[in-house]
């Protein structure tokens, strides 16, 4: 796409069937100066992204922005999990199967803390998983995910460890006290109070899933 590295406009596509949650997410994102578009379904999201039925994984395609219908570049998709028709998971899957959309980072939101659901989404390629309702502190975690795409476009190699450090440094200064301490493993082992899904540096990454920077998933 050839965007200048100085371009700091980030555009987020938020998908949620609840009007209240769309309004909330939009406001949250706008306070962080992101451009926001909201849609109420997965199919509308795909439409907005310019998805095509036959747009399957193609090794020739390296660009993030698809050639045809998408006029506005989307740097991140944040979607609710539970939606009628196409769930957030279905949307995620379709995006990952698409050559033009697979590089757009996707974050899933859910009102329910179901470890198997979280694992499933992360395995399918979601960058992160937030518990609803979303807070201002969650929005701070979105930047690192969006930066990955920007750097890819400009052919700058961004080391995963570096991003992890940035992310956890941010967390230490902005995160509420309880949340940073608990690891994802502890959460999966039954602590229902903690909502944060990003992991601190202490835990070693699981070898089978090296691509999830800053996130460690422990299967039960």
């Amino acid at each position: 796409m050839g965007m200048a590295a100085a371009d700091s406009e980030f555009h987020v596509l938020a998908v949620d069937d609840s009007l209240i949650d769309r309004k909330l997410v939009e406001r949250l994102l706008k306070t962080s100066s992101f451009q926001v578009t909201t849609v109420d379904s997965g199919s509308k999201a795909l439409e907005f992204l310019g998805w095509h039925e036959d747009d399957r994984s193609n090794s020739n395609e390296t660009s993030v922005s698809p050639k045809n219908h998408q006029e506005v570049e989307v740097n991140l998709v944040i979607t609710d999990y539970c939606m009628p028709g196409m769930t957030g998971y279905d949307l995620l899957k379709k995006m990952k199967e698409s050559s033009s959309l697979r590089n757009i980072p996707v974050v899933i939101m859910s009102s329910e803390n179901v470890p198997s659901r979280i694992t499933r989404c992360l395995e399918e390629g979601a960058e992160d998983f937030f518990l609803k309702p979303m807070k201002l502190s969650d929005v701070n975690k979105l930047m690192p995910h969006m930066m990955k795409t920007k750097y890819k476009e400009d052919n700058i190699i961004e080391k995963p460890e570096k991003q992890e450090k940035q992310e956890s440094n941010k967390e230490e200064t902005t995160q509420e006290s309880d949340d940073v301490q608990l690891s994802l493993q502890e959460q999966l082992n039954g602590n229902n109070n903690n909502k944060r899904k990003s992991i601190d540096d202490g835990l070693p990454p699981v070898r089978t899933r090296p691509r999830y920077n800053g996130l460690t998933v422990m299967s039960n």
Partner: protein, 162 residues
């Protein structure tokens, strides 16, 4: 009215609502999102909540009135209500919805009717209180918030609850 006095009233009333469990930290998050460029944010979101809830409670009433109760549909409605109440911080409504879903799982129609009554009650309670908070009956018909801003003050935040 003195800004200090208004701020105290507002804070006291909000404090009360938090203490009594009607509102939780999520409501504070909403307040944090309100500023000069979005001065009516809380009011707008809360209004959406009222509309949404009334529609859902109506749908639930109809659904439970059927000969053959569709528990899946009921669960879907309650799930939605749980979501929206959670999003605005209406804690007691949310908790009642959580209990409602459990009863729904048991496919217990009588139980569901009782739960519906409870949710309606909790909803009406929080609605009254939020309306009071956002639109107090004073001569100028301004809400406490608007009065404070008009008097040159800022809306106090309850940082404890963030």
């Amino acid at each position: 009215m003195e800004v200090d006095q208004l701020q105290r009233n507002f804070l006291e009333y909000t404090n009360l609502l938090f203490r009594e469990g009607f509102l939780d930290g999520q409501f504070s998050q909403l307040q944090l999102l309100q500023d000069e460029s979005n001065p009516d944010f809380v009011f707008e979101v809360v209004s959406l909540f009222f509309e949404d809830s009334e529609r859902l409670l109506n749908d639930l009433t109809i659904a439970l009135d059927q000969q053959n109760v569709d528990f899946k549909k009921i669960d879907a409605h309650v799930h939605q209500l749980k979501g929206s109440s959670s999003s605005i911080g209406a804690q007691r409504v949310k908790n009642t919805c959580i209990a409602f879903r459990d009863v729904c799982l048991e496919q217990n129609a009588e139980g569901c009717l009782r739960c519906l009554q409870q949710v309606k009650q909790e909803y009406l309670l929080v609605k009254t209180k939020l309306e009071a908070l956002l639109r107090v009956r004073v001569p100028h018909l301004f809400s406490l918030e608007q009065q404070i801003v008009a008097a040159g003050g800022a809306i106090p935040m309850l940082n404890d609850f963030c």
